[in-house]
Symmetry: C2
Subunit: 547 residues, 2 copies
């Protein structure tokens, strides 16, 4: 399984540099690569309480992505899924801690506790005021005295960061963090394991199963459950959350563990809001990747019964793209469909010459079905003749309900009929041609110019130019020559159609995907249909004139 | 391959409802499920030009995620990777278009062009002023007349949205969109295919290969290339981008195609900035998922030589979490490491009684190595004796450089030595114990209280309470009894240690993972070490008193 890394050893430092690169100068790092990977606010002046977090990497955007005004002051980044060294943590503490002291926000994993704990001791020996809180929001194993710290940690970062930003002293920041920690609960679920850089992927979760109650280091969930639908999955999670939630309104944090698609995450949050705890969720953070397990196809839900003052802290804006903000749930708004989607049926009217004209055109297309299919078989799927013939039959059947005496209305009505009866791209394109021509006619253009306006619109939408081996090659020169009479137009249409047999590089339509050799010597079926139509109309006109 | 959906049929509508759910009431949808899936701004008043986009679903957060003030007015969502119907598009146009008209931003895929084109015709028949632009930013096939529309479309949404928000008329909005489209170039790369809901995953890309020049519908890239590192991958992409870029500063949009981890995306953007086009990139949007292909492990890079006025439009703030904003690149800031990471070495001093005391303790631990290892073998990996003996040897070797005559300094120095010489959690915990005790002593506590402060800190960090079957079970009662003399303390330590043999549910330390039956009757080795130390000290005291 390839990954977008250069090598395992440099993955974390290169990723941190990428975070710095796109921070717009708001972040800096300490000069301690490769072992000391500490990201700090570049505008920090040590007057306020510093809020420091960190731990193993592989949880991006945590932790470096949450360094910024109103959240973390510094992030200490270990190797992937490994605690940072005591020296690295100490460096981070020393870099950002001033007289106001600092708070270390540590997730409840042994390595992190010990290393952050020892670094705190070493920092205290320098007279610094260092406090530490341990986040233990995971409820996967309700009986366990030492729950893991997982995505609920984001709430703690936000609360502590906002309190510190407001100028609260260390005691107040610690108290706020502790109070939040005491009430946050998280549960995770995954359909697949994650890919640790440089290691083969463990295929632990069979198809049709999910793991419930995950940490954030690829470790197995506390149970493997049968997986059927996201509804059932969310129900299994919310059942466990419901057991530890009070009746107060909660903030839910919906965290993408890394590899879940945005489409899936939206369905997940929708199921959450419809779930048994939905009526206790008043606010949502996410869905977004916040505390990930690399590329894990999973997610976690954290719930936090934030009191009013806590909610204010949570909603204080921060300029961090990784923090999606808090949304207050409102009822879903559904608006009535606008009028006009069902097309207005024009009033039918009679006009015998028009009726005869249309019948003639339709019958010509019906008669050309086999020839056009044969031509299409050279470059497409051999159905152009049948498509046009089918449309012609449908138009004939519709003649009595068409506004035959009003040519402007008629063009639009033909477009409408074709869009409803003719399949595929050609149906839509002809519908656009007739609709735009009708538009042109209604705005006062002559019929010739209206048809040219229709062609222009069809070309714009379809993307075909003259020379692209489409019906445009016959239609465009024919319309241009129409001012010289129908015979001239027919001659141009035929010449244009014949030319398509020499155009070996189709640029639009299905023939664009066909080998040039296969096209040689064969006229494009759409162009041929246009040429035959014009030739037929010319012969009718000629006949009526000689008569 | 399971996915977090309920069924293929409802995936898109449920995802849209999820987007509405977390929109805080800023979005609404039209009442046309299942076929008409249109998301609109709920605060729209039709006075300004409406900017409408859409297409197939599966590209989330595009398109619904970009509906909001300053970007899209409405998003028309088709099925996964399928164009929305003409009726759906028409409904969207009719719902949001007023006298100022609307702009349709359409990506260059045949289905989208045709359906949006025909819907525009139908809307025009109602007298609405509808314009349409086709985005064709993909440069995968430079010779192709009709390039696909991919992630560069986001730039067009932002430019058109900002112009419309400023109150520009339709002509101005169209002109801005056209100008942007003419200069945007995008190329994509992927290591894996995507998983279409309800369909089996196509395993088209072999391990060690990547596809270059992708669309956003899971279609194959124009070439499969050998994949080695992200550096080489980005180089292959930037070579193609360089060929079409001018010398002006560009904005780069770095788009996650859905399943790439945040860690990888940061490395990608870092490589981009170091690449051959890095010096022409002045601003970055992302990295973030903006125009995805479901869960595809891939990304795209779009470049846009935005002029000053265009940059102003791009950077105008919008309250949309899906739009990550534009960051101006600044040089990476690297700060010097703070002083104090290398521990200050205390001045050595001599004090023969202390030296003898420490020697006695160390020798006792050295002598107990085998016994303690044997006890540890019952509940751990059998190395507690060796670990403590090794630490004791190291302390003896360090005696001459320790501040023996200053007990406050000495405690800290012992902590420092242990943190450097003793491996594992126990080394860190003892280091914390001695460091915190030294802290306590330096702040004026008696030695007994200083040691108790050390114990409290060690318990806080290690998480072990009395009764958890650790050394705390001996150390805690011993320190409590120390005021009654060393003999009393030793008796309490022994009693506490013996009690651990009856504690069958270890809650901290490695023994927490061991079966209760295996623990029965065996004293915890850490507690045993503490008891032996206290007993030895009591016998020395006793000897010195009787002597």
């Amino acid at each position: 399984m390839s990954q977008f890394i250069n090598n395992r050893e440099n993955a974390v430092t290169e990723a941190i540099d990428g975070v710095l690169d796109v921070s717009g100068g708001t972040l800096a790092r300490l000069d301690g690569y490769p072992h000391i990977r500490v990201v700090v606010r570049s505008d920090w002046d040590k007057k306020k309480v510093a809020v420091i977090s960190g731990g193993g990497s592989g949880h991006e955007p945590a932790h470096a992505g949450f360094v910024g005004k109103g959240m973390l002051t510094a992030a200490i980044c270990g190797d992937v899924f490994a605690s940072p060294s005591v020296d690295a943590i100490l460096a981070g503490i020393l870099a950002v801690t001033g007289p106001a002291g600092c708070l270390l926000v540590v997730k409840n994993y042994t390595g992190d506790r010990l290393n952050f704990g020892l670094a705190a001791e070493r920092a205290r020996a320098y007279g610094l005021n260092v406090s530490m809180v341990i986040v233990d929001d995971d409820i996967a194993l309700p009986g366990l005295a030492q729950s893991r710290g997982v995505a609920g940690t984001l709430f703690v970062h936000k609360i502590a960061g906002a309190l510190a930003e407001r100028g609260g002293d260390l005691e107040a920041v610690v108290a706020g963090a502790r109070r939040a920690i005491a009430s946050i609960s998280t549960i995770g679920m995954s359909l697949d394991t994650c890919t640790v850089p440089g290691s083969p992927k463990e295929n632990r979760i069979p198809d049709g199963s999910a793991e419930l109650g995950l940490g954030i280091h690829g470790e197995a969930g506390v149970e493997q459950i049968e997986y059927s639908t996201v509804k059932a999955a969310v129900a299994a999670m919310t059942e466990r959350l419901a057991a530890v939630m009070g009746d107060r309104p909660h903030v839910a944090l919906v965290n993408n563990l890394g590899g879940t698609s945005v489409l899936e995450m939206s369905i997940i949050v929708h199921e959450l809001i419809k779930s048994q705890i939905g009526d206790r969720i008043a606010h949502v953070v996410g869905p977004a990747p916040m505390m990930t397990s690399l590329d894990m196809q999973g997610f976690s839900i954290s719930v936090y019964p934030a009191e009013k003052d806590e909610l204010e802290l949570l909603t204080e804006p921060v300029a961090l793209t990784a923090w999606p903000g808090v949304v207050t749930l409102k009822p879903r708004k559904v608006l009535a469909l606008p009028d006009g989607i069902t097309p207005i049926t024009p009033l039918p009217s009679r006009h015998e010459p028009t009726r005869q004209f249309m019948l003639a055109c339709c019958n010509l297309l019906i008669g050309a079905e086999k020839d056009l299919n044969a031509l299409d078989a050279k470059s497409g799927d051999g159905d152009t003749g049948s498509t046009l013939s089918g449309a012609a039959h449908a138009l004939i059947a519709a003649l009595d309900r068409l506004p035959l005496s009003d040519h402007t209305q008629l063009l639009r009505a033909i477009g409408q009929e074709l869009s409803q009866t003719m399949g595929g791209s050609s149906g839509v394109l002809l519908a656009i041609f007739f609709a735009a021509a009708g538009d042109g006619a209604s705005s006062g253009l002559t019929m010739r110019d209206a048809l040219k306006a229709g062609l222009a619109r069809m070309q714009e939408i379809g993307g075909a130019n003259v020379g692209d081996r489409t019906m445009v090659d016959a239609l465009s020169p024919a319309l241009d020559a129409l001012s010289e009479g129908i015979a001239a137009a027919a001659a141009k249409a035929r010449a244009g159609a014949n030319l398509t047999a020499t155009l070996l590089q189709a640029k639009a339509g299905r023939a664009a995907y066909i080998n040039a050799k296969q096209l040689e010597g064969h006229i494009d079926p759409g162009a041929e249909a246009v040429a035959r139509l014009f030739e037929h109309l010319a012969s009718r006109e000629d006949g009526s004139q000689t008569r």
